[in-house]
Amino acid sequence: MATTTPIMEVIDETEATGHGRPPVSVIYDWITTVDHKKIGLMYIFYALFFLVVGGFEAILMRIQLAVPNNHFLSPQVFNQLFTMHGTTMVFFVGMPILFGFGNYLIPLMIGARDMAFPRLNAFSFWISAFAGLLLYYSYIGASGLYAAGSAPDVGWFAYAPLTAKVFSPGHSTDYWTLGIFLSGVGSIGTALNIVTTILCMRCEGMKLNRMPLLPWIYLVMGGLVFVAVSPLTAAQIMLTLDRYLGSHFFDTQAGGSAVLWMHFFWIFGHPEVYVLVLPAFAFMNEIIPVFSRKAIFGYPAMVAASVGIGFISLGVWAHHMFTVGLGPAGNTFFVFSTMVISVPTGIKIFNWLATIWGGKIILAPPMMFSVGFLFQFLIAGLTGIMLSAAPFDWQLGNSYFVVAHFHYVLVGAILFAIFAAFYYWYPKVTGRMMNVKLAHWHFWLFIVGFHLTFDFMHIPGLLGMPRRIYTYEADRGWEILNLIVSSGAIFQAAGTLVFVYNLVSSYFKGENAGHDPWDAWTLEWSIPSPPPSYNFAIEPVVSSRRPLWDIKHPEDQDSEYE
């Protein structure tokens, strides 16, 4: 028997007046908007655009590596491609898409009308967007080692002394430095907004221990951004000073230190992995319980694990530098700190499994991608523990094993979680359901392609294939493996095209979603789809972590147990 509880909601009639307006007026609306939902969507669209760009760069690289002695690309272009691919995917896909989801969802989930600083929110988005455009303008405007139109080619972590003026003449490296610098300003602004919104704008009754796990994790992520992005910004300024004003921070020949750059970069770089993966955890925390029809298992442990991951992740950066020669004390510390992070991460995996265990599982598209996430994130974590052992890392550092490991995290875990989030919240954003059949095509094409690419990528790494290698001889035993790896990229590209087609076609032809198509429990599902500009006409009052469960099941409310 279904339990029904009528509550009053409101509709915004002004929303309906948007149809039929001239395009200029619509564009002006988007450019001047300070609405968190529109800004969130702009973040997502912009990230999806760069996802296609970065994916295209990856495919070009995989064509180059598919067969030995290949000259499909020149070495110079190959160097530019792996630099731009890495930089794009981390700074202009991963960060913005996760900020976009956060922007859209956090006020809705905590019962607020907007972010704490709406104008700063708009500024943060636009400066991040312009940073991406500035970076890619290097393809047209940079004067680099190969004359005008030279994209950066120093790798996404741009080690010194390669970035010194003498080895990177012209401006291609400067475009990289300045693009990342501007992106960092936007990231700090958004993190400030996220943290302030969550701490100050929760609705009545939503104590911290009743807050959904998604805002909790974004709170941790915001704190990490403060601590991690600042050293990167400082390092970009120092590098700019080195290149323009003749300072010697990273110039080893003049008393500087190339290792100093590595420390600065990786004290950003490893927490950055958690900045990216924590929101993926957040999506899982919302999706898995709904499609298992159970409350999340171990809410306090999940919060503690998130905070623990955030804290420990600040102390593991030098595991990227084992091959530098850190000495026994440094090696010991960073081996153990890296291994310790598997404890809170393991807690999360066990809690997700415990949530699924005994639940009434619904394998809708969001849950299918979530299951893929769980399996792949586990594998990624296991290879991470292998690489955390310094002697193992000495053998396989900078090999394709490492490339396979971090793509397992970034694609197998984070991208799968993002796909799950798209399928889960698309009905809320558009008011339409995505096509399930196309979603299945997307899932199976992508998961087959993913495993063809990244499972097999471990093996050439174990056989000694170094990352960033331009081409290779036929007698190394890598050729069949690389062909399989490259063929997987085709499946992934096909899956992504199906996904993009589904996004567009469902917007026009999808079934009406209603306000709560998944029978979910958090506040965003209590308002119409798409939400009105003010989110909640009446400020909600909550008394448990699942306010909609309480309304739907008044005879068995969570508030009696929490």
Binding site: A2, T3, T4, T5, P6, I7, M8, E9, V10, I11, E13, D29, I31, T32, T33, V34, R113, D114, P118, R119, L120, A122, F123, W126, I127, A129, A131, L134, Y137, G141, A142, H171, Y175, L178, F181, L182, V185, Y244, P300, G327, P328, T332, A389, H515, D519, P528, P532, S533, Y534, A537, I538, L548, I551, K552, H553, P554, E555, E560, Y561, E562
Partner: protein
């Protein structure tokens, strides 16, 4: 299953006609200045790699947008009014609800009402760590006639230069060895103590067997396989019999101390009726612990 009406939450500012709502809601006004300021900053920076004129243009945009943004906020923040009209939306579960089997008074899982506090584990770890020193010192006295031998062996993992030192060297007193060993031992003891504090409530049936033997043997097994990587020096000289004895000493003492500590109430206790919490009634649900 009973149905019940739900209280409609009211907006603190709301005076609407039909449902206590405001007729209009104020939202921050759209503004182009954040975008223009971001563009200005980008152009200022881009001028470094293109042309100075680009930076000048950027500077102009920065100044203009700063003024525009200022007047967006001062003296009063600009708002737009969005009109609203009420309608009723039913929040309803689309799934059918099945009757619960009468397995207990309440169908939800019963979680422990009491557990050990985190400090129980810390105290257990400290006392267990002290107890563990005794067999370790006896081992040093028997094998090398020095209580410092075990101390230096533990510390040796942190000093690469000790890799080729003789047993005689390791039997001498070294201040840095003592400090390093004390740090390693204290940290490990407290962490294992915390693990005991967390684990023991999960295995309440045979605490002596769990704390004093199973956990030390598991821990020894893990270390046996990993010690060659963690500390090759210790791995080459360790006497596993004495190691197991010291681990058992730690486990028994630590487990005893943890069990001595007063248990603290979990959040589940707060959901009990007042009469039960106040001790007036004892008809709280039975737990596994109560059976023993």
């Amino acid at each position: 299953m009973q149905e019940q009406d739900h209280e409609i939450p009211h907006d603190s500012h709301g005076h609407g006609a039909s449902v206590g709502l405001a007729d209009a809601i104020h939202l921050p006004a759209p503004t182009p200045w954040p975008m223009v300021l971001a563009l200005g900053f980008t152009l200022v920076i881009a001028g470094m790699v293109t042309h100075a004129v680009v930076s000048v243009l950027g500077l102009v945009l920065v100044l203009r947008s700063s003024v525009g943004w200022f007047f967006d906020v001062f003296p009063h923040e600009k708002h737009i009014s969005v009109s609203v009209e009420a309608r009723a939306v039913e929040i309803v579960s689309t799934r059918s609800t099945i009757a619960q089997l009468p397995v207990s008074e309440k169908h939800r899982q019963l979680l422990p009402l009491e557990t050990f506090s985190i400090w129980a584990g810390v105290k257990g770890g400290i006392v267990g760590g002290i107890a563990m020193i005794v067999p370790a010192a006896i081992f040093g006295l028997i094998s090398q006639h020095s209580v410092w031998y075990a101390v230096n062996l533990l510390a040796a993992g942190g000093f690469v230069s000790w890799a080729n030192q003789s047993d005689a060297f390791l039997a001498q007193f070294h201040l840095n060895g003592l400090l390093a060993a004390a740090g390693i031992h204290a940290l490990a003891s407290v962490l294992i103590g915390l693990l005991y504090g967390a684990m023991l409530p999960m295995f309440p049936r045979k605490p002596i067997l769990t704390a004093g033997f199973i956990a030390p043997f598991l821990w020894t097994g893990i270390l046996y396989s990993a010690l060659g990587i963690i500390s090759p020096i210790l791995n080459a000289r360790i006497n596993w019999l004495w190691f197991v004895i010291s681990q058992v000493a730690f486990g028994l003492v630590c487990g005893y101390i943890v069990n001595l500590q007063v248990r603290v109430r979990t959040p589940q206790f707060r959901s009990l009726p007042f009469s039960v919490r106040a001790g007036l009634h004892t008809d709280h649900p039975q737990t596994k612990d109560d059976d023993q």
